[in-house]
Symmetry: C2
Subunit: 174 residues, 2 copies
Amino acid sequence: MTKSAASAQTQTDLLEKVRQVFTEYLEQAGLRKTPERFAILREIYSIEDHFDIDSLFLLMKERKIHVSRATLYNTIEHLLACDLVTKHQFGKNMALFEKSYAYKQHDHLICMDCDKVMEFCDPRIQQIQSMMGDILDFQVTHHSLNLFGKCRKLLRNGTCEHLAKKKQVTLTGS
Amino acid sequence: MTKSAASAQTQTDLLEKVRQVFTEYLEQAGLRKTPERFAILREIYSIEDHFDIDSLFLLMKERKIHVSRATLYNTIEHLLACDLVTKHQFGKNMALFEKSYAYKQHDHLICMDCDKVMEFCDPRIQQIQSMMGDILDFQVTHHSLNLFGKCRKLLRNGTCEHLAKKKQVTLTGS
DNA sequence: CTTATTGCAAAGTGTTTGCATCTTA
DNA sequence: TAAGATGCAAACACTTTGCAATAAG
């Protein structure tokens, strides 16, 4: 099996799994399993980057899948509720989303020059989160940590646009 | 000298100092020192909590200080540029601001039930920030860490509204 | 057949912009 | 007195809402 075939298989498995999670959520919540909802889920899981509602709308329009913006906003609320999608506010007013099933918890580094977003993991955040919850008697459900700045190396090379490649850093120790 | 007189003195000193910082910024940038700009600075430094543009507009209107929303948006950009004010996005679309001169760097804990914001400090954030900048060759200029959840203790007591009192926690060790 | 869901367009909300008027330097 | 700043209202961008038509259960 070639690498891309394996990856395609993984992608199919993932889609199958998230459809199942969504189905269970809809049933348990007494909501209807409409074709629009599953089409939106599928499109979202085909996107690698962060996206906003309008680019999702345009992507689906381009692929001849007609759903209204209202339905996108509505459906994404449900996908947030069952943790299949995560919402972000990276300093701009517009909300950005990303698929989040089976994704390791991560935080973001945002280049203010080219607007690109990189991801990183650091276990200390989890420690701070749970410790602060205890100290302040708060039930912390989630957090958002964004580091803002400029990509130095890429600025040296001229434009930042080349930074877009996903780059993920994980620390395992403390 | 009574305690409140001392505090009033401190408040006056602070206002004097921030006026000076703003003046220097405006001069160095070749911008005009208009009465509106200093009035806005004074009002902002009279606010203890986080605020949005519209509540600042209404506060100033109430105090019979007429400035337009356009001028508020314009001036706050300058105050951000010289670090006298900090901007936040706490998950909602609306931007929130706070005065930030001589304020210790801090992060936020947001109650999703009552929308109240608490502040805390943890030196590990600074460590993560500078380390990530080095690893990813990023020049990190600032960050935003928000912990979202529910205030447990206050929920037990009924409403969350009593939580509004500013509560700040600082860790000095790692 | 009942009622949730959809699509459309209208209304909201926070922010930005264009332009005539005013004012700082 | 010339360039910048202000105030107003219109324009914008993103999101939410109302409602008639549709379709899931």
